[in-house]
Amino acid sequence: MPVIQVNYYAQLREALKTGSEEVSLDLPARERDILERLAQLHPRQKALFLSSRVAVDEGYVGANAMLDGLCRVDIISPISGG
């Protein structure tokens, strides 16, 4: 199973006490598969993961993309900028 780098920000970074971790993940995968895998690893943050978006290369991957060959993803929990 490939291992990818997962980056966290803001409330997820604080809740998980890390900005980044290595996670093994079945690929190819959709956004929802990645978030469910992370929720499984961190069950107390399940609600936050399941309302997050996945970004790769500084762009949201979207719900429908089938992702493969990933090295690094950013987890974007609900945003509050502006």
Binding site: N7, Y9, A10, Q11, E14, S51, S52, R53, A55, E58, G59, Y60, G62, D74, I76, S77, P78, I79, S80, G81, G82
Partner: protein
């Protein structure tokens, strides 16, 4: 090509910064200039005694998304110039958290572009804020699930 100045900044968006942004959008063909500021207010929904906000971002992605929002707005609405700054770090009560300056031939375009940009930034840019209260506690704001624009989907 690097942008002339970073969209995300740790520096205060104070009167001098506002004047700079105003100059950035000056244009002899502009009949309207609109400067929007989001500012730190002393309360938010159900929370009193806010004294500051603290912003964090996936900064490179946020800068890229804001630049794309500006470019797409320019493509859709005939404006002259647009300049955007968003604060990172701690922003005190009354200070600006974001400034969007737009110049356009006519006011309708300036209002529409300004509004489209702030609405999209709030829904798309990976930026988070924490509310710092007078009693010393703080908490991340309840946010919105990031919204993905079609244009970004096509990448």
């Amino acid at each position: 090509m690097e942008p002339p100045s970073p969209i995300l900044t740790q520096a205060p968006l104070d009167a001098a910064a506002l004047a700079d942004l105003r100059r950035e959008v000056a244009d002899p063909a502009a009949g309207a200039v609109l400067v929007f500021e989001g500012t730190v207010r002393d309360h938010s929904d159900g929370i009193e005694d806010v004294i500051a906000l603290e912003y964090e971002a996936q900064a490179s992605m946020a800068a890229k998304i804001i630049a794309a929002i500006v470019a797409e707005t320019r493509a859709e609405i005939p404006v002259r110039k647009i300049a955007v700054r968003h604060r990172l770090g701690r922003v005190e009560l009354g200070e600006a958290t974001i400034v969007i300056a737009v110049s356009a031939g006519h006011r309708d375009e300036a209002y529409r572009a300004s509004r489209a940009i702030i609405d999209r930034i709030k829904h798309e840019a990976p930026i988070w804020k924490r509310e710092i209260l007078r009693n010393g506690t703080s908490a991340w704001s309840r946010g919105c699930v990031a919204h993905q624009e079609k244009s970004q989907n096509e990448k």
